[in-house]
């Protein structure tokens, strides 16, 4: 794991939500996806700070869309997971799976 970026739990959730959303990942949809899949309502500040931090780490890239009247003439900021980001989340999930091997947790079939 040498050289790979360490990912916190919320960083992993955000990266996975962006991967699930594909091309339509921006603040509103990312927040909604996290809420839908985890039942956790992300705090606005925590979400945008995490997105900025992941972009600084080179795990995400962002691009501004076109302004819309629904948003008061403000543009959306779309996020995409980079190759480094994909490698980091894969590594993090593999570590979780290794830790889970052989464990029998209640409510999980393949633990």
């Amino acid at each position: 794991m040498a050289g790979a970026a360490y990912l916190g739990e919320f960083e992993q959730i955000v990266l996975l939500a962006i991967l699930r959303l594909g091309d339509g990942a921006y603040g509103v949809t990312i927040g909604a996806e996290i809420q839908k899949q985890t039942g956790r309502v992300p705090v606005s500040g925590a979400l945008y700070t995490t997105l900025d931090r992941l972009e600084e780490k080179g795990l995400l890239s962002s691009a501004m869309g076109d302004p819309t009247s629904q948003r008061g003439g403000r543009a959306k900021r779309f996020f995409t997971v980079t190759g480094t980001g994909l490698a980091a989340i894969t590594q993090a999930q593999r570590s979780y799976q290794n830790l889970m091997k052989g464990l029998r947790l209640p409510g999980l079939e393949h633990a």
Partner: protein, 164 residues
Amino acid sequence: MHRQTIGEWILGRLMTQDHAAAIVGDLEENGVSHMRFWLAIASNVIHSISRATAMAAVKGCLVQFAFTLLLSPVVTVAFYFLPLRYFLWIGAISILPVQIFTAFWITRQKQKQPLLICLMIVLIDCALGLLKINNVSINMAIWSIPLLLATIAIDRRNRQKSIA
């Protein structure tokens, strides 16, 4: 002025204008109430405070203290040679250059959020002023506004220079 404009201006001090506008746009798209809008803005401001920013604010307070020490001989001389009412005025006015030097120091740091550092220093100054440790701490709190204005002005000039 609309809440979006104010919210965007506040966030624009801490991040690029594009990013600030995108956050405010997201909040508008969600159609949040006034309270949730301002809570989200406050949450973004609080989460923007990095450890480096907090350390810079503490350093700024130490720099202020160092500047105050440099000026203390002037105030001491005033204490011996001037009547008490003039001495108090000199003590109060001598804090003004300290705050302006501090504003220059803040904006010369390679930090992304000079205004946030300034606000944190102002909060520390005000807290110390409320504790009434001595005349210097009280004057420092009173003269926080020039520090804030000077930092905004220098930061704005630096931004305009970098755009040009």
